[in-house]
Symmetry: C2
Subunit: 175 residues, 2 copies
């Protein structure tokens, strides 16, 4: 049970970050391994939870989500933490929720149809036990959106942890 990631794994991750629907055959070409080998590596990456899931970026506006916002929430202590989390999971408007340092204890990334649905959502939040304050920033536009995980950067990250052991040129198959 090797938990080691080598450069081939990182290239697979990088490639799939750019196009999550790449075929095994295309990945095999990129990393110069046979298709079954790539398939096995991919399974392992998912099994180990390094790859969590495959998803999609959509144009939210075209799907009728005209409002995106960040909502900073301040909740009082840990007493209401569990119920807060349950509420968060239930609300479809909340796409992401982060526990953070700084002003407020949480940041919510919210997506709704229009201002009136956002208003309803905000008043709902404010009724949750323990919620002391919210502070909303509307998203006017998104300047950058990347899922790219550079193999090179990950290699640098991991090598001082010694998680990443080797990259043997020998392993690469001739094409």
């Amino acid at each position: 049970m090797s938990g080691h990631l080598d450069l081939i794994d990182l290239k697979i991750i990088e490639s799939l970050g750019e196009n999550g629907r790449l075929r095994l055959s295309e990945l095999a070409e990129v990393v110069a391994l046979s298709i079954p080998s790539v398939s096995e590596r991919l399974d392992k990456l998912q099994k180990n939870g390094i790859i969590r899931s495959f998803t999609m970026e959509v144009d939210e506006r075209q799907l009728g989500f005209d409002i995106q916002a960040f909502v900073r929430v301040r909740i009082d202590s840990s007493k209401h933490y569990k119920s807060f989390m349950e509420h968060v999971l239930q609300e479809d408007e909340i796409m992401e929720c982060f526990s953070v340092t700084g002003e407020g204890s949480h940041i919510l990334k919210v997506m709704t149809h229009n201002t009136s649905s956002l208003e309803k959502f905000l008043s709902r939040i404010q009724s949750w036990p323990g919620v002391l304050e919210t502070n909303t920033s509307f998203v006017l536009s998104q300047l950058k959106r990347t899922r790219k995980i550079s193999a090179e950067i990950v290699r640098n990250n991991l090598q001082d942890r010694q998680v990443l052991i080797t990259f043997d040129e020998k392993k690469s198959r001739k094409v």
Copy 2:
């Protein structure tokens, strides 16, 4: 050139949001159409930019990105806007960048290896022309992360725009 989305399209989007690597054959099963029909719809969804790209969710920690943070940036007026954007696109640490209302003009979602790389990054930002102030919130944990685009909600969003016209039961094929 029909730009209309029907419920079948929305089901395709919903399904791919949950698993972006679903096969055409599996999608065809879900929406009860033939494989070539689903393939054609999928092409069209991408061509129309409703589906922007296919990607992946990874476990950032396992890839050595131990620090995630939101950085609020205040830049002075629009004079430095263009150069700011260029910088943003260049920095690998910046995963997302939003132009927002409220305190500060932009929110950056940042991912780095450790506090020292974050520190370097922050001092780099502060040297960009026009950057007046930054305010960093560390992400302690992520409580929710969803890419699910519910077909039902999108239908509700779109029907008052009358973009969504029909859902004919007749169109569904027997299995």
